[in-house]
């Protein structure tokens, strides 16, 4: 649907080199990278706000590299929301409808439809200057959606929101994606990628260093940068029972600290917070499992040990510990982790 071919641009201190990316209809694609690597610039190139030095942008197999901004059918939502401060919420949402050949009553229906979807119907007559970050983000999304873009470009949409608002916005983004809108979302936050995407590309020093399904990228990082940047390999889909239990992949039951009584979501366990031992240990950790070492992967400063406990769990240990406890592939070990070491992402 959306295809970037060999996009290159040099702007000030950074440059993008031969960026290739392909999104299919209905994808939720996250472009993950540190701040300042040019992720926003890439979105602006797709939207036609910046011209690339070289390369092509295709939309539905038609080249749109030099197409007018207004005809591209892509909608960009900036990190700072860019809600027009001199217009009220309704006028903001109606902005793209002005001049279109649709009746006023149809416009009214559209405004109410998208205000309803983004849960801001009660704010329609409000001035935008008194709205919270989450409300502004919803206004920006409603305003963009009413123009019916085929592809939505989101620039760090959750970065400026506090943790309580993030959950609600994530659900809204999922809902928008499920309604058929293809989404390209750029972020520096791997949690957002885990929570939302089905495909991820990692951008580093102006190039895409890895792309693939979210699971693939996080669990099999292509190089050390991706491994360090994504950081998390132990992330799983889980169903939560009300009594602080979670079932991973429908099989393995673990203890979690589920304060928010979430029913299902994703969990992540940092490899550094898992203890590996040859014998079962008595400790405050409520999750203790016997497993078998499948693989030991050496890195510059530490080792990653993949242990099969019914699911593959990645444990990070130092060289010193590896020598001391003489862990080896195919040997049996115990893994322990506290329920508080498990992060739940709704």
């Amino acid at each position: 649907m959306l295809k970037l071919k060999d996009i290159s641009i040099k702007l000030g201190d950074f440059q993008l080199r031969k960026i290739n990316l392909e999104l299919n209809k209905g994808d939720y694609y996250v472009l993950l990278g540190k701040s300042g690597v040019g992720k926003t610039v890439l979105l602006e190139i797709i939207a036609g706000l910046i011209k690339p030095d070289s390369g092509n942008v295709f939309m539905n197999n038609t080249e749109i590299t030099n197409e007018k901004i207004q005809n591209r059918k892509v909608g960009i939502v900036f990190q700072d929301y860019s809600v027009f401060p001199h217009l009220n919420v309704k006028q903001n949402i109606a902005y793209s409808l002005k001049g279109k050949k649709i009746t006023n009553s149809k416009k009214e229906v559209l405004i109410n439809q998208y205000a309803g979807l983004t849960n801001i119907t009660h704010l329609l007559d409000r001035n935008t200057q008194n709205l919270s970050g989450g409300e502004l983000q919803r206004v920006a999304l409603a305003r963009m959606l009413v123009s019916k873009p085929e592809c939505l470009l989101l620039d760090e949409p959750l970065a400026s929101l506090d943790i309580q608002l993030k959950g609600g916005l994530r659900n809204l983004l999922r809902q928008i994606n499920q309604s058929g809108v293809t989404i390209l979302h750029v972020t520096h936050d791997y949690e957002e990628a885990i929570a939302l995407s089905d495909k991820v590309a990692v951008i580093h020093e102006g190039e895409i260093v890895q792309r693939g399904s979210t699971k693939e990228v996080f669990q099999k990082p292509a190089n050390e940068f991706v491994a360090n940047f994504t950081g998390i390999k132990n992330f799983f889909l889980a169903d939560f029972s009300p009594i602080n239990n979670a079932k991973i992949n429908g099989t393995l039951e673990i203890n979690v600290s589920n304060k928010d009584q979430i029913k299902n979501g994703k969990i992540i366990i940092r490899g550094e917070e898992i203890i590996l031992s040859n014998e079962k240990m008595e400790s405050s950790a409520t999750n203790n499992f016997k497993g078998k070492i499948k693989q030991i992967i050496p890195y510059l400063t530490n080792h990653e040990i993949i242990v099969d406990i019914g699911i593959d769990l990645t444990v990070v240990i130092s060289e010193e510990s590896l020598q001391k406890f003489k862990f080896s592939e195919n040997s049996e070990v115990w893994v322990s982790f506290k329920s508080t070491a498990i992060k739940i992402i709704p």
């Binding site: 901004i69 207004q70 960009i76 900036f78 700072d80 860019s82 305003r143 963009m144």
Partner: protein, 262 residues
């Protein structure tokens, strides 16, 4: 806000002296003018006509030149080009050159010998000694106030708002009129007021281009030259009052607009 008690007493003292320096001459002029003199002067047809002429010409010059100055300010705020600093310097030139010299330059530009003068002559117009000539002189010395204020206004509009509007399907012209212009309006209005006020008070450039018809600053100069301080003073006071009324009215209007938008 810093507490008043924290302001050094010397600062208050020096500041007070500066304020006194501005107020004293004006106050003494007001006190030296009797109500009867003011009343008589405000009925003097020559004075009344010159005040109307000054207001009208300055107002029209401001409006007419705004049509070109505002787009230029937008261009300067949004475009990077090689000689931008030079262009900005040129815009400030009328502020730094002596206004009598500016008058000479404009006279050369619009006299019958110049290209513009010849074109005007062929249409039966002579800008010298004509309200159009006065307007040109007023605009020349006051237009930097409008361009600079409008440029600052456009620069303060986040570029992402314009990009968002374009992305929402608006044409560049619609983006200008619905986003950039309304958001920069406070600065533009302030610039328009400053240009208008500066035009009202212009003497040096206008007196060279058009002694007649007589705008009020020229009339004050003529009364002073022909009859002395006593006769020039009431005209000055009346004109200052008129200028102040307009200035306060326009400033209040711009503040109200700002409050409504806030």
């Amino acid at each position: 806000m810093i507490n008043n008690r924290n302001t050094p007493i010397l600062f208050v003292l020096f500041g007070g002296l500066i304020l006194l320096f501005i107020i004293s001459p004006l106050l003494s002029m007001f006190l030296a003018t009797t109500p009867l003199q003011l009343f008589e002067t405000s009925k003097d047809p020559e004075v009344v006509n010159s005040i109307w002429l000054t207001l009208r010409v300055s107002f029209l010059a401001t409006l007419f030149f705004a049509i070109g100055a505002i787009p230029l300010a937008y261009f300067l705020a949004r475009t990077k080009f090689k000689f931008k600093k030079l262009v900005n310097g040129i815009i400030d030139l009328p502020i730094v050159i002596p206004h009598s010299a500016a008058g000479i330059a404009i006279l050369g530009f619009i006299s019958r010998d110049s290209v513009l003068g010849k074109v005007a002559s062929s249409l039966g117009l002579n800008f010298v000694g004509h309200p159009v000539g006065i307007a040109l002189a007023m605009a020349f010395v006051s237009i930097p106030f409008l361009i600079n204020a409008a440029r600052d206004g456009f620069e303060s509009v986040p570029i992402k708002l314009e990009k968002t509007a374009l992305n929402l399907g608006a044409s560049p012209v619609r983006v200008f009129f619905t986003i950039s212009f309304p958001l920069a309006w406070k600065n533009i209005l302030s610039g328009l007021i400053m240009m208008f006020a500066r035009g009202l008070s212009e003497f040096g450039a206008v007196v060279i281009v058009a002694y007649h018809p007589m705008i009020t600053p020229v009339l004050i100069f003529e009364r002073f030259g022909a009859f002395g301080l006593k006769y020039a003073r009431p005209v000055s006071v009346v004109f200052i009052i008129v200028c102040l009324v307009f200035f306060i009215f326009l400033r209040t209007l711009s503040k109200e607009k700002h409050t409504n938008n806030a």
